[in-house]
Amino acid sequence: MGLGFLVPAFLAGLAAIAIPLLMHLRDRNEETPTRFPSLMFLVRLPIRTSDRRKVTDWPLLLLRALAVAILVLAFSRPFFGRDAAAAGEGRVRTMVVMLDRSMSMGYAGTWAAARDSVRALLDGLATDDQVALVLFDEEATLAQNWTADRAAVRAIVDATEPAARATGFGAALRVARSALVAAPPGAPEIVLVTDLQRSGLTGVAGLAMPAGLPIRVVSVAPPARANTAVSSVDARRVADGSRVQLHVQARVTTRELPAPRSVRLALALAGREVGTRTVTLPADGELNVVFDPVTAPAGAISGRVTVDSDALPGDDRLEFALPADDALTVVLVVPDDLNRDETLYFERALAIGRAPAVRIERRRTGAVDAATLARAGIVFHWDVAPASGAAGAGLDTWVQGGGGLVVLAGPRLGARRVSALAATAGVNGQADRSAAGGATVGEVRMEHPLFTPFRAAPAALSAPRFLRYPRLEPLVGSEVLARFDDGSPAILERTAGEGRVLVLAPGLDVREGDFPLQPAFLPFLRRVALYAAGHEAAPLWRSTGESWMPRGVRRAPVIQAPDGTLLRPEATEFAVALTLEQVGVYAAYEGRVDGSPRDRIAVNVGAAESDLTPADPSELLLGVAETADSTLRGLAPPTSVEIESRQLAWRILLLVGLLLLLAESVIASRGWRGRARRATVVGPAATPKESQG
């Protein structure tokens, strides 16, 4: 331990010790001497100067000198710090222990090894070392802030079990970095106790960590990593005559099995096993297992595929949920003079899609009856204007309630003047660009959801050539989403209540251009159908950590978690969003948990978590940048200010100094000292005035 001073310049004030000495020798009366009529007798006395300067009151002198010295030391802000030699080894350690609690840590023996490793780390800490505990999977939490209480950390570790979550080292390192920013001064260190799955490295690249920060990896990866996992499931309804059957197939992945393994897979719907398959899995590979079709239950379906348990049971099952009926019905209203095969490309393109499947019902010109509208996802008018007035009231009401109306303006509508096509656009003749080789779509509002598939490849939409197209004129309330290269509107949209109205000018038949032959045709049509219908494809499951916006729930949402917990997320004006934390099936209700849920979603751990392949510890920090301007004060030796601020010795010294001065005042004014002092007051203080009188 060495003594240091924050403001050593103040030590010059130690010279002030001479002040009480001088004051003492001259008895403080140097400045106000005692006048006496004449010293003619005194100067004759044989008095030696040394006698006059002799210290006669040592206790008072020492008291004053001590008070001055202590005050000077106090203002010099002293601190006791380790000396330079001890700064390295003997320095307080500030260790962030990052414990991986992802699903893969549940592999046989891994978690126990991890706990033992953490305990060993804690046992290796000195008494005054500080430790913080970060538990992480794909997310990270600071489970224990800085403490020297190792028992508290140990208790948290003992109470922690692997979670059904994937691994993400990036989030964990960020939390550890934040913890170190607030760490007490010391030698910082990050110790990562993990099986170091390579899949967890995603998100680490680009992370900036302070230069020189030691990051140590304690790998508890199992030496044998044989694992079998249900990695995906495909389930869909297939109409078979009047029946609807459910076709389910599962993909099983094996890694590093010592030998091919014979396993039994089971399919359960709504908790009841409906099919099994016994297969022999390869030692390292994948196998698609197709279950026998079963009669699809009415309504939404939730199911589970399981495989015989192994060393990592967390990935031996996979949950899925199928919406009640995900088929999208497109009511195609065609003109009476529809040419043969005019809608061929259109219908074939829509029929290809699945999830949702698209079912087309064709109608001739005229009002669409209410029963048809009830089934319809969208009503598509092929070059024919929707009915207006009373005849179209039903359609308007349906659109207002959330239906989707799409009107394709083709040569028939272009041949005549239409003032208000679906209250969205007027049609003012037709443009014939065949002489110029056709027109292209030149201006697209790519940020619109309708063009989501083309954001990565916007050129796909400008490739098609359109020989003829009607000239549309947007009406009040409608938006132009795309224009031809001559500026004429190509796609218009109008919002009507909760529904949408789209008017398309690009021809969807080969007679009007080559759009049906272009790659953009199929995704464009599918996107138009889904967007107009307000239909978003529902995945069979989502991964933990993702957000879910249940459909059909607008007010007072109640979400039942897989473990039965009821969650009440805040409903915004637009949607309800929930982070999926648990493996299983979430069910969304409105108001209260009653009857069939409005929506449901299955949640599984990401498939990558089943890949136990470890990374080399050096790979962990390959993409990590080092920041020179470290904000971690622990990386640098603690500054004098930090050391002094923790000790605050100056306050104690200041208090002691003041007490000494108080004692000096009391001592100097009591007893013989006080009497002597009062006696010296005698003098001609008032004499000048008197003498003037």
Partner: protein, 301 residues
């Protein structure tokens, strides 16, 4: 003369020191004192010419000797001898050592009251009064005259005690300017070599003066009551000297007593009456001493 002292509170120096009007003080002292004496002073003027002296503001213009003016072009006053009146010159020490007080009354204040009272008393007796103040040399000089009381009081009022003094030299200077023999009342604390002071007083005596010495003392000058170590400063020279009083007290007292005894012996040898006055003593003592001295001198010039 039968003098019956009366105990008068008017003569308490501490009380008088609070009054700034010096003539009033002098009158109070003398009236109070005389009220107890029941004695009338002799009055009368002689027509015998005694001497010329220089004109002083306040002198009666009728007494200017115009013939002398015609001869010398200077104003001279003709003075005449009286049978019973004498010229009394107060020689007052105004050095810094006089400016000291350990009690209620400053030594110099006491001296001024004393001189004023004696002058008033002298005036009432018909004597001529004058004053000479001195430090290391003469500061003010008012020759004795029957009309110089107010001038004397004025000089006295503005006198300030300061600076160093050379008492023997100053006494010699008084002797030089007091050419006409009379009474010289020396008021001082007499910080100086007794031998030199004795020589100077002898000079005065040799020139025909009756000399009365008032030695003013502060109680602290006798007792040296200090206890704590301190720095003492000389009232005249400003010399500073750190001292522990308990170490020097006895020796100082011895030396001071020896000094007084030496002075007293030398004054007695010279036929000079010596009166020691402490500032905590009433003024009666001084007035009695003065009157005794005045009456004991049968020959009055």
């Amino acid at each position: 003369m039968t003098a019956t002292p009366a105990k008068e509170t008017f003569l308490d120096p501490a009380l008088l020191a609070r009054i700034s009007d010096l003539p009033l003080i002098a009158r109070m002292v003398v009236d109070g004192f005389m009220h107890g004496l029941h004695r009338s002073v002799k009055k009368g003027l002689s027509l015998d010419f005694a001497e010329h002296r220089q004109y002083q503001p306040g002198d009666d213009l009728r007494r200017i000797d115009w013939k002398a003016y015609a001869r010398t072009d200077r104003f001279y006053i003709k003075e005449y001898e009286a049978d019973t009146n004498a010229g009394v010159l107060f020689a007052l020490d105004v050095t810094g050592s006089m400016d000291y007080a350990s009690a209620a009354v400053n030594k110099f204040t006491y001296a001024k009251i004393l001189v004023a009272a004696l002058a008033w008393l002298t005036q009432r007796q018909g004597d001529r009064v004058g004053i000479a103040t001195f430090g290391d040399d003469l500061v003010d000089m008012v020759p004795p005259s029957t009309r110089h009381l107010q001038l004397l009081l004025s000089v006295l009022g503005r006198a300030v005690a300061k600076g160093e003094g050379a008492l023997p030299l100053a006494i010699d200077r008084v002797a030089d300017v007091a050419t006409r023999p009379g009474i010289v009342i020396l008021v001082s604390d007499f910080y100086g070599e007794p031998e030199a002071i004795g020589r100077s007083v002898n000079t005065l005596r040799a020139r025909g003066h009756d000399v009365l010495v008032f030695h003013l003392l502060d109680p602290a000058e006798e007792s040296f009551p200090f206890e704590a170590a301190t720095v003492f400063e000389d009232g005249e020279s400003g010399l500073r000297m750190p001292l522990r009083p308990e170490e020097v007290k006895e020796r100082y007292q011895r030396m001071f007593r020896a000094h007084r005894a030496d002075l007293e012996g030398r004054f007695a040898a010279a036929g000079v009456e010596y009166v020691a006055l402490r500032t905590d003593q009433p003024l009666d003592h001084a007035l009695y001493a003065y009157l005794d001295h005045r009456l004991s001198r049968s020959r009055v010039r």
